[in-house]
């Protein structure tokens, strides 16, 4: 059914509103009062919850409701990620606004019985603040201070139903652009909004669109960069899975503004669920005439093709991505020419990140002023962070730019796991750096992160605690960039290898202070000479850890110890006088290097010890074995 014009779109929207009406009830209605309303049970289908069994829960819920004849009154949906992945599988019930955490298949009968039949909340499944032990049925502290723009529909609508997207103002921004704005006005709104690329570099989106539009050509292309290579970031995936139409709509807007009739979404092959959602969304959009020719009766023709990555981080870099779409090795090329001048098949091409695109429809609808009122002076709007690592509440967090790290980690994130001490936050993935405690109160935006030696990057935010060795973290990232280097240029192909070798030496206790200087010098030269962003930023994790945690490097080199107790070669397993001589450890030692007789203090032969830790594991209860 092709939508011929805006009126048809609006009519469809009016019709579809009932689909999500229940979820739109603003304030919490008490469970009792809500009886009689059709309820919506939203079972998180995000990557985390999905992995821990949410599809099964949804299935069981449906079966149970069916069995009890409640299918008409209670409907089950599987939307995208709610953000609070740590507590998954999560369930939200509308309009009651009850949120259940860590639900398991066994809980299903209880939920149905208690919540839907008895009308009581299942107390034990409500979120409990670990410190105050207070339970929350709604307004979880995790969501305090968050503002969802890019993720506005994620977890809220059923992603495989275009009607729900349309009901949630979907394609309204496109209609506005097509009939009430000129392309230049669209670009002006973007420029005024202050939206900057969320893919890493933070380049002003409006300006990029303008450049692309200005390049003379018979064809231009729009590419959505859905390669999401940062290991430990999954916000783009969540948007693609939870709200694919917002990306399609934004690409259509870009097509209209830039003068392009073809778009490509370059998506990682590792994201099959996202690919499926996109396929469904594209098919539906075509069916409704929202992709194709004469869209909504306008003169815009635009279609979108999916292109799959094949496991190369560097293909997130835009020139490499373009080469990959063209069917060749995903090697970057020198800029200029920029894709906006000469991109896909030599034509002007605008490459935008998923999250960037997801911001665009609301900006068009609500205006530049609204968006630019959020955030800091130079970084407007919100940013989604994938909060992970040693933090209590792992998940997706969307906060206004300028929110402090402390707020994200300690308030939203609920602090450090197991009450350990915060050591650093790693942002920007392999291109970024580690931020020490003293900068916890820095309001984070593009500039401030760069100023303290890190990067916004795509929004990976990994929390590290006292048990993380910073040299080892630097080595981890170096190994990543070394493996992912495309191998084209000397600086990165050989340089990252040499950096990794020096780091390995240091973690093995054979590094020297000269190595440290050599490594630092090489880092600066690689930044200066590498061909693309991968190499240019590859030394960042080393430079930032050297800057803030130099003492840890020195400890490895001079004292031959790993202060965090991570680097195996530098560990010494020792048996203290707590030993009760139970001989448990002796049996487990693969090297047979523990000696001692029953009820006597045992000793480890350091020469032969492999540092495998098996003995310590055995002695966990008594705790007689230490390592340092």
């Amino acid at each position: 059914m092709k939508l011929e014009n805006t009126d048809a779109l609006n009519a469809l929207k009016a019709q579809s509103l009932k689909l999500i009406e229940t979820r739109r009830v603003a304030d919490s209605v008490s469970t009792k009062n809500a009886q009689g309303l059709v309820r919506h049970v939203m079972v998180c289908g995000g990557p985390g919850c999905h992995s821990s069994g949410s599809p099964r829960i949804a299935e069981l819920l449906e079966e149970e409701l069916e069995r009890l004849g409640l299918s008409e009154q209670v409907k089950v949906f599987q939307p995208g990620c709610f953000g609070f992945c740590e507590k998954g599988p999560m369930i939200e019930i509308h309009p009651d606004n009850a949120t259940y955490c860590e639900v398991s298949a066994e809980d299903v009968p209880t939920i149905v019985e208690e919540h839907f039949i008895q009308g009581n909340q299942v107390e034990r499944l409500l979120y409990m603040d670990p410190n105050t032990r207070e339970r929350f049925s709604t307004n979880l502290p995790f969501y305090d201070g968050q503002l969802r723009i890019a993720l506005r529909n994620v977890g809220y609508i059923a992603p495989e139903n275009i009607l729900e997207y349309i009901a949630a103002d979907g394609y309204q921004a496109l209609a506005k652009v097509l009939f009430r704005m000129t392309p230049l006005e669209v670009i002006d709104v973007l420029k005024e909004s202050g939206l900057r690329g969320r893919g890493g570099a933070g380049f002003p989106t409006g300006t990029k669109w303008e450049f692309t539009r200005r390049s003379q050509a018979d064809q231009r292309y729009i590419i959505c960069n859905a390669d999401e290579g940062d290991p430990g970031a999954f916000m783009d995936r969540s948007v693609l899975e939870g709200d694919p139409h917002s990306v399609l709509e934004a690409m259509l807007i870009a097509g209209a503004a830039i003068g392009a009739s073809e778009g490509f979404i370059y998506v990682r092959a590792e994201y099959p669920a996202a690919i499926h959602r996109l396929q469904v969304a594209i098919a539906q959009a075509r069916e409704y005439g929202l992709l194709g020719t004469a869209i909504l009766g306008s003169d815009l023709n635009f279609d979108i093709q999916l292109k799959y990555g094949a496991g190369a981080f560097v293909c997130g870099e835009e020139t490499a991505l373009i080469h990959s779409i063209e069917g060749t090795r995903g090697e970057p090329s020198v800029k200029p020419p920029f894709p906006a001048q000469k991109g896909l098949w030599g034509k002007p091409t605008c490459v935008n990140n998923v999250e960037t695109l997801a911001n665009i429809p609301p900006i068009i609808l609500k205006g530049a002023e609204w968006f630019s009122s959020i955030g800091t002076e130079k970084s407007k709007g919100t940013k989604v962070f994938a909060l992970a690592g040693k933090v209590n509440n792992v998940g997706l967090v969307e906060v206004p730019m300028g929110t402090t790290l402390r707020k994200i980690i300690f308030d939203i994130g609920g602090g450090i796991k197991q009450h350990k001490t915060f050591k650093a936050a790693q942002t920007g993935g392999p291109s970024g750096g580690c931020i020490p405690t003293k900068y916890l109160d820095t309001p984070i935006d593009y500039e401030s992160l760069t100023a303290i030696g890190s990067m916004m990057g795509s929004g990976g935010l990994i929390v590290l605690d006292e048990e993380d060795c910073m040299v080892n973290i630097a080595k981890f990232f170096q190994e990543f960039t070394m493996d992912e280097s495309c191998g084209r240029c000397t600086a990165c192909r050989v340089g990252t290898k040499r950096l990794h070798e020096i780091l390995t030496k240091i973690t093995e206790g054979t590094g020297t202070l000269e190595d440290l200087d050599k490594m630092e010098k090489l880092c600066h030269i690689i930044k200066d000479t590498a061909l693309c962003g991968l190499g240019q930023s590859a030394p960042n994790p080393i430079l930032s850890t050297l800057k803030y945690f130099r003492d840890e490097y020195i400890a490895h080199i001079v004292d031959k110890t790993c202060p965090a107790g991570v680097c195996k070669s530098l560990l010494r397993y020792e048996i203290t006088d707590k030993c009760v001589g139970c001989t448990l450890c002796v049996k487990k030692c693969p090297m047979n290097c523990i000696t001692g007789s029953l009820k006597k203090i045992h000793v480890i032969d350091q020469e032969r010890c492999l540092k495998c830790g098996a003995c310590m594991e055995q002695c966990r209860v008594i705790g007689a074995i230490n390592h340092h």
């Binding site: 090795r329 200029p336 280097s485 191998g487 000397t490 590498a530």
Partner: protein, 580 residues
């Protein structure tokens, strides 16, 4: 539109789109480069900016810029000699060397290696970074080329040459990260690929990663074997390039000195492949006339370039009946030495070793083709060495090349005309053929023997030449990519010719893969072409059919051109091969 910029405090104006590197060169600032190579004449442009050696500082830029690939911009302020740029450059070379064998002393490229000279120029005195070095097997599989990927610096010049210019596509960058290297499909040895052995990848490789298969010792051995009668022949293009190996100006003609040097080296006879070039004209011209008269398939394609022969065997196996069946000139001469000349001398052909000195590495492979041997065992040519190898032999033998007195080739297989010598340059074969065809077909004397339309570096040259009432449509092609373009058009029925000359190398054999390295300076190749035409002008006879020794050969031994005996000795056949 001109762009105004400043390089090292020199203010200059250059056209828009120019790179910093080229702009700097206009004011005599030469920024070192390694991967970058542009050969305009061949439409070869290796601009992948991989080595990161040409780095310069640009005011206001966060990082350094690679000058080979960064276009100038208005108001740009460039420093090519800042400490930051110099250190970066040196570090790039150090990093390359950290993953490179330090075996310059024994390396075939030694004095011609761009990496080695760069290290010297940049004052690399220690390799600051050490670590794992790549370990690849050396590919000795072919008769022409040795590939040592351990010495590869991933400049991709060979890949660009083989893919973009020759369109053979033997190489690609393979793997990722530190393991990346330029390789063949599925790591096949070169001998199992569609490589034509044109050697153009060797010609552009800046290091010892690609070199010719060295046959010098085999020649020494033959020369020192009292039971062998060792005959040498030299191709036309060698005499105009060999001098470069001794520091002489490119384009110096050293025919006489070369002959003298070969005698000094101990060859029993010094013959000239030019003789066989004249012979080729007789055969090929007759073959053309035969095809025209008997309604044979046209165009006739020349077949004196073995790289081109192997190219069409792989790429156009359905066209095997259109190339001329003539063997290449040195093979013709080889077989004559071992038959006709052996008979004259009264010695067993098995005791004769024929050594060809060629501008070419494909001819090494060609000599080993089984069909190019009498009764399948006596190879027409035993050993092929390149111009470069000969230069080295001469040095090895402590011969003071430029002090040598000119000497003449031996008779009778050393006789030749000007038509033969121009075989060395693109267009020469057809020009020589026309000189003969005209006179044979019209019975008149050709006054103006130069066919300018067939000369020069244009990749595809065409002409229509009327002879005796028939228009001959001819084309001259050099570079295999150009050959592909034309052959595909012929296949598609879009164009046709009567005869086409095809040479694999840029400029023909003067630009062969076995010639002294030009290091990207195509003026050297142009100077060799000049010399070829000078040599032609200096010859008393300039038409193949005037070569009295050739006429004698037909009379005494071969009979008719393109006749039975000639067929048996001077013609060959082709084999269809797979594209790999």
């Amino acid at each position: 539109m001109d762009i105004q910029l400043t390089i090292n405090d020199i203010s200059l104006k250059v056209p828009e789109g120019m790179t910093i590197l080229d702009a700097a060169r206009t004011v005599d600032i030469d920024i070192p480069t390694l991967c970058y190579l542009k050969l305009n004449e061949m439409h070869y442009n290796n601009n992948i900016a991989s080595c990161r050696v040409c780095m310069v500082e640009v005011e206001g830029r966060r990082n350094l810029a690679s000058s080979c690939s960064t276009p100038v911009a208005s108001g740009m302020v460039v420093k090519t000699d800042s400490l930051r740029a110099i250190q970066a450059r040196r570090t790039m070379v150090e990093l390359l060397l950290s993953d490179h064998p330090k075996s310059c002393l024994t390396c075939a490229k030694n004095m011609d290696c761009e990496l080695r000279s760069l290290a010297a120029e940049l004052g690399v005195r220690a390799i600051g970074y050490e670590g794992v070095e790549s370990e690849f097997e050396i590919d000795h599989s072919s008769f022409s080329i040795v590939r040592d990927p351990n010495k590869c610096i991933r400049c991709r010049r060979c890949e660009t040459m083989c893919n973009d210019v020759q369109t053979v596509g033997v190489y690609s960058a393979v793997g990722r990260g530190f393991e990346t290297v330029v390789k063949t499909a599925f790591d096949l040895p070169l001998s199992k690929t569609a490589c034509t052995f044109c050697g153009q990848c060797i010609a552009v490789c800046p290091t010892g990663a690609l070199t010719e298969l060295d046959q010098v010792d085999k020649v020494w051995k033959a020369l020192n074997d009292p039971n062998q009668f060792v005959v040498v022949q030299t191709a036309p293009a060698v005499r105009v390039a060999l001098g470069e190996g001794f520091g002489l100006e490119p384009g110096t003609i050293v025919t006489g000195k070369m002959v003298a040097a070969l005698r000094r080296l101990g060859f029993d006879r010094v013959f000239d492949t030019d003789f066989a070039a004249d012979l080729t004209i007789m055969e090929e011209a007759t073959e053309l006339v035969h095809r025209i008269q008997h309604g044979g398939r046209l165009p006739l394609l020349t077949s004196c370039c073995p790289a081109w022969v192997k190219f069409f065997e792989h790429q156009f196996p359905d066209l095997l009946d259109i190339p001329s069946t003539c063997k290449s000139p040195h093979e013709m001469l080889g077989v004559l030495i071992k038959s006709y000349y052996a008979k004259t001398l009264g010695i067993d052909p098995k005791t004769i070793t024929v050594v060809s000195v060629m501008p070419c590495v494909a001819k090494k492979y060609e000599a080993a083709r089984p069909e190019l041997a009498q009764s399948g065992e006596i190879a027409d040519v035993d050993i092929v060495i390149s111009t470069r190898e000969l230069a080295r032999m001469i040095r090895e033998a402590s011969i003071h090349f430029d002090h040598l007195k000119d000497q003449e080739f031996d008779h009778p297989l050393g006789e030749s005309t000007g038509a033969a010598v121009i075989f060395g340059a693109t267009g020469g074969v057809l020009e020589a053929a026309l000189r003969t065809a005209y006179e044979v077909l019209t019975g008149e004397t050709l006054e103006k023997v130069e066919f300018e339309a067939l000369r020069g570096m244009n990749g595809i040259k065409e002409a229509v030449i009327p002879i005796a009432g028939r228009d001959y449509r001819i084309a001259v092609i050099h570079g295999l990519g150009n050959a592909r373009t034309v052959l595909e058009k012929i296949q598609a029925g879009e164009i046709n010719y009567d005869v086409i000359e095809i040479m694999a190398c840029p400029g023909g054999c003067i630009g062969g893969g076995g010639q002294p390295y030009h290091h990207g300076n195509m003026e050297i190749v142009a100077a060799r072409a000049d010399a070829i035409y000078r040599e032609d002008r200096a010859k008393p006879l300039r038409k193949s059919h005037q070569n009295l020794a050739i006429l004698g050969l037909y009379k005494d031994y071969l009979g008719e051109p393109y006749g039975k005996k000639a067929h048996q000795l001077l013609h060959t056949s082709y084999t269809g091969r797979k594209k790999i």
